[in-house]
């Protein structure tokens, strides 16, 4: 079954608005990473956050491990934030393999 579920599947914002992306997972996760995938396909790691809250720049991630969910908050969105945001977890199988969600496609319009 689907190990990682992301919502919403797509989101359209006006520049300057905030975005809230959700990631829910079905099993214990020992590692969780948020990625940005550009329209061209390149993958960039944004935050590694298996538990608690982490900030970097305009990004804030909060992971509640017991509830098997994580969120990514993007403040003051910019047109260059447009792309796909992926949540990936490691399922504590003993080896570190990421299971990815299908992503949230974000479009920021000027």
């Amino acid at each position: 079954g689907q190990q990682v579920q992301q919502s919403p599947s797509s989101l359209v914002l006006q520049e300057g608005e905030n975005a809230e992306l959700q990631c829910n997972f079905s099993s214990t996760a020992t590692q969780l990473q948020w990625f940005y995938q550009s329209p061209g396909g390149s993958l960039v790691s944004l935050l590694s956050n298996p538990s608690g809250t982490k900030h970097t720049g305009r990004l804030t991630s909060t992971t509640v491990t017991k509830e098997r969910r994580s969120s990514l908050h993007i403040s003051s969105s910019q047109t260059t934030d447009s792309g796909t945001y992926l949540c990936a977890i490691d399922l504590d199988t003993g080896y570190q393999n990421f299971y990815f969600g299908k992503g949230t496609s974000l479009t920021v319009i000027p």
């Binding site: 590692q31 990473q33 990625f35 396909g41 390149s42 993958l43 960039v44 790691s45 590694s48 992926l86 990936a88 490691d90 199988t93 003993g94 080896y95 570190q96 393999n97 990421f98 299971y99 990815f100 969600g101 299908k102 992503g103």
Partner: protein, 112 residues
């Protein structure tokens, strides 16, 4: 930040031929991974590699696939023979300790 390189960026080959995808991981990283992303679909784990051995592989890692890292050089994914369904973007990743993974830009493989 740390950079993983992948060579080539694009590859087009005929079905049945062999292809080798090359990954230049971050130096001093010990864990290596391959992932596959078919156009429009989600990224899926193929295999991980540590200490010269495959540690775990998914059901997508068919018998036609093999990985190696001879003498600490490139970490390679070889497909022999290729099939039409192998067309995808293949991402390599490396990690120093198995937690945070650093991804390369991907190799876009098209099998005709």
């Amino acid at each position: 930040g740390p950079k993983v390189l992948q060579i080539p960026s694009h590859q087009i080959i005929d079905m049945g031929q062999m292809v080798t995808l090359n990954c230049d991981p971050v130096s001093n990283h010990l864990y290596f991974y391959w992932y596959k992303q078919i156009l429009g679909q989600q990224m899926e784990f193929l295999v991980n590699f540590y200490n010269g051995k495959v540690m775990e592989k998914s059901k997508l890692f068919k018998d036609q696939f093999s990985v190696e890292r001879p003498d600490g050089s490139y970490f390679t994914l070889k497909i022999q023979p290729t099939a039409l369904e192998d067309s995808a973007v293949y991402f390599c990743a490396s990690s120093p300790t198995g937690d945070t993974q650093y991804f390369g830009p991907g190799t876009r493989l098209l099998v005709l």
